[in-house]
């Protein structure tokens, strides 16, 4: 009887040490099957404070901005050189005058802004005014300290523009509302919503390639021409600072 009891007490599963080994074995099998997922997740949490953070993101963004600026300058130089070779019209890049908007009438029939730079600062009638986004209008009138700008939405504004995707010139007419109308004197022009409109290389009033707006809707009801509503890139009713460009025409 005593002998039997001793044999029974010495079974392997009655030893804690064995169970511990078994648990470790099972854990290692789990690790093997999960391909180290546990280790990786553990590493995820302990390495979190040392990840490449906001600071590195800023460095990378700054570098990419510089890269874009350098590329832009190179392209600009190329563009100017090619334009000189082809004897095309160019705008002088050096003469930018920054000005603040001191009065704006962007509703109703009178669509104009008044800037705090005038003939005293070298602003001349016919200069181009651009804001963040693109073209705003042309200087129509200057006093000693102010200049008045006719916006491209004004009913008096008519400008030659260029639709780059379909390589065609058109006429941008202000209608007295926020969306000027683009007139293409060709029924076959394949203009589509989303096309970008910029100043025309053939225009005698504007320097070429200034972004103006995006085609918002196309009207094909007229027989001999197509018209399109243009959504302007530069929003005159919110812009407070603009740049005045001198044009060599």
């Amino acid at each position: 009887m005593l002998g039997i009891r001793r044999i029974f007490a010495s079974r392997w599963w009655h030893k804690n040490k064995n169970w511990r080994f078994f648990a470790i074995f099972l854990f290692l099998v789990f690790v093997r099957i999960s391909k180290g997922a546990f280790y990786k997740d553990f590493y995820y949490f302990i390495s979190k404070p040392f990840w490449p953070g906001q600071f590195q993101k800023e460095i990378i963004l700054e570098s990419s901005d510089q890269e874009y600026l350098i590329k832009l300058n190179l392209l600009k130089k190329d563009n100017i050189r090619l334009r000189q070779i082809l004897s095309l019209q160019e705008s002088s890049n050096d003469e930018h005058i920054s000005a603040a908007v001191i009065s704006r009438k962007t509703g109703s029939w009178w669509r104009q802004i008044i800037l705090n730079k005038g003939s005293n600062d070298g602003v001349e009638i016919g200069n181009i005014v651009i804001g963040p986004g693109g073209l705003l209008g042309r200087v129509k009138n200057t006093s000693l300290f102010t200049s008045s700008v006719t916006l491209i939405t004004s009913p008096e504004s008519k400008l030659g523009v260029w639709v780059d995707r379909i390589q065609i010139n058109g006429l941008l007419v202000g209608l007295g509302d926020d969306y000027p109308s683009l007139i293409l004197y060709s029924k076959d022009a394949d203009i589509k919503i989303g096309d970008i409109v910029s100043s025309s290389p053939a225009s005698t009033l504007l320097p070429p390639n200034i972004p103006i707006g995006i085609v918002q809707s196309v009207d094909e009801t007229l027989k001999s021409k197509k018209t399109a509503k243009i959504s302007l890139l530069a929003k005159p009713h919110v812009i407070d600072w603009v740049q005045i460009l001198k044009v060599n025409i």
Binding site: G107, V173, G176
Partner: protein, 183 residues
């Protein structure tokens, strides 16, 4: 103290007498200021009518017509649209507003100012719009301008909305400044 009192009295008298001119100066300023928070669909009320209505009611059609002309000249000089003018509308409104006095002796109710100014604004807007249409009629694309009639409607609404407040106050001020001041 006596001198101080006298100078204050003279200043008050000067301001009362010149209330017309002082308020007149504010018309082009507010026209240029163009406060967006007062606008509707980006359009402002037609400010000159608020001054023109009480002036014409008090001073009659001929004076109204003349001041309409002056206002038109000033406002045209502030806007860049050289091909179009606000003068016809303002002259017409000045004359009409002056006639109101001849036809009715009783003081106009506040809300009638709103209706009268709305009508005046509609008249000025239509006359201006017709000029734009006429100017563009040769382009064969003048029909594109039709949707901008919303400018007129927004202006009519806003002018009618603000007129009862502003015109009645200005009329009261003008009447007050015309009374005999004891010497």
């Amino acid at each position: 103290m006596g001198a101080n009192f006298e100078s204050k009295y003279l200043m008050n008298k000067f301001f009362l007498k010149k209330l017309y001119i002082i308020s007149f100066i504010f018309i082009p300023i507010i026209f240029l200021w163009h406060p967006n928070w007062l606008g509707f669909l980006g359009v402002q009320p037609y400010w000159p009518l608020f001054w023109l209505l009480p002036w014409s009611i008090i001073n009659g059609p001929i004076n109204g017509l003349l001041v309409g002309l002056f206002l038109g000249l000033i406002l045209d000089s502030l806007t860049l649209n050289e091909s179009f003018t606000q003068i016809p509308g303002l002259i017409f409104c000045g004359f009409l507003f002056g006639r109101i006095k001849l036809h009715s002796d009783f003081l106009l109710g506040h809300f009638r100012y709103g209706l009268i100014c709305s009508f005046g604004s509609f008249l000025c807007g239509i006359l201006y719009f017709l000029q734009i249409l006429f100017r563009n009629s040769s382009d064969s694309n003048f029909l594109m301008l039709i949707p901008s009639v919303k400018n007129i409607l927004a202006e009519v609404f806003l002018t009618g909305f603000f007129a009862p407040f502003i015109c009645s106050q200005l009329l009261r001020m003008f009447k007050f400044s015309r009374r005999k001041i004891p010497q």
